[in-house]
Assembly symmetry: C2
Homo-oligomer: 197 residues x 2
Amino acid sequence: MKKRPFGYEIRLRDNTIPEFDRRIERRLSALRGQYLDEAAFAQAVLNGDPLVYEVYEIHRPQKEGELLSGLSVVHPGLVGEEFYMTKGHYHEISDTAEVYYCLKGHGLLLMENEQGDTTAEEFRPGRVVYVVPGYAHRSVNLSLEEDLVTFFVYPGNAGHAYGAIEAAGFQKLVVRRNGTYELIQNRAWARKAPGIG
Amino acid sequence: MKKRPFGYEIRLRDNTIPEFDRRIERRLSALRGQYLDEAAFAQAVLNGDPLVYEVYEIHRPQKEGELLSGLSVVHPGLVGEEFYMTKGHYHEISDTAEVYYCLKGHGLLLMENEQGDTTAEEFRPGRVVYVVPGYAHRSVNLSLEEDLVTFFVYPGNAGHAYGAIEAAGFQKLVVRRNGTYELIQNRAWARKAPGIG
């Protein structure tokens, strides 16, 4: 871990951080239970389990005052009528924010909190999305051709909590309809989280 | 202050955040005492006190867990043989970091800490600079034609402390020599901060 200030490059030619500390690859099988169309999901996992997204991280001490930053790359694709997306998570320390800056592509940041509020903000190059503390967040690639590439920054002590989303998904699903996208209610979410829905 | 997640645009056509909460304009006179060539400084202030840089801020509660973000635009220019630059500052809560992402231009982030360590990282489009906790930082535009445009993110509780830099400047000055730049020792700094130099 560097003690002195440093720089790193986000290389948009191939959507990487060449000097990353950690690269996470998520294949479709990591999103089990998140897609409505279970048959399409199972078939796609059988047919090679495609790479859905990658994250390049720069490590810092995981403590207050430090910042964690890196690059998120969501590839284009559909599972049934739903777009490729990240697993999504809350922060372990829930009153911590996150900032995304969209570098390339077209997408959505889908967000919801534990009080049942749900919202989404569009990603277009040049747009920043601010995730206020307490909101789970998931990136969705709305393009079928281009990667969705975002730069993210969040507090060093935030941590990631995947459990709630793995168990119940997000309230909203993002589906392709008439050449554009629509947010529809996730019936599985209401079923699995009856106390909130 | 928004309670729900939100987005905003960084408009690179004119280097602004149209939906800013606060816009700061710094004219040259705000940098009194920071330039070596006092005669050139005084003359430029008399000749219209040029706009040196602008900052567009998005407000959030100034507390831990929140993030402050915005845009810094340093215009091109020289005072004597020194480039246009920001005032520079420490954070009030000194063990807080900052992240810069360079959107346009060519520059330097000049940094130093209270133990006397001094360093600089280059800004080029696509480069991130990580200011580890405890380092004062100043942006310097190395171009004589283009704005230096950077997106910044820092912890909500960090605060800004300008006093030390206003009193003693940075250890290093960034000067134009032979069509490029050089870092030279700031003799005024040694004089004003004898305990550290």
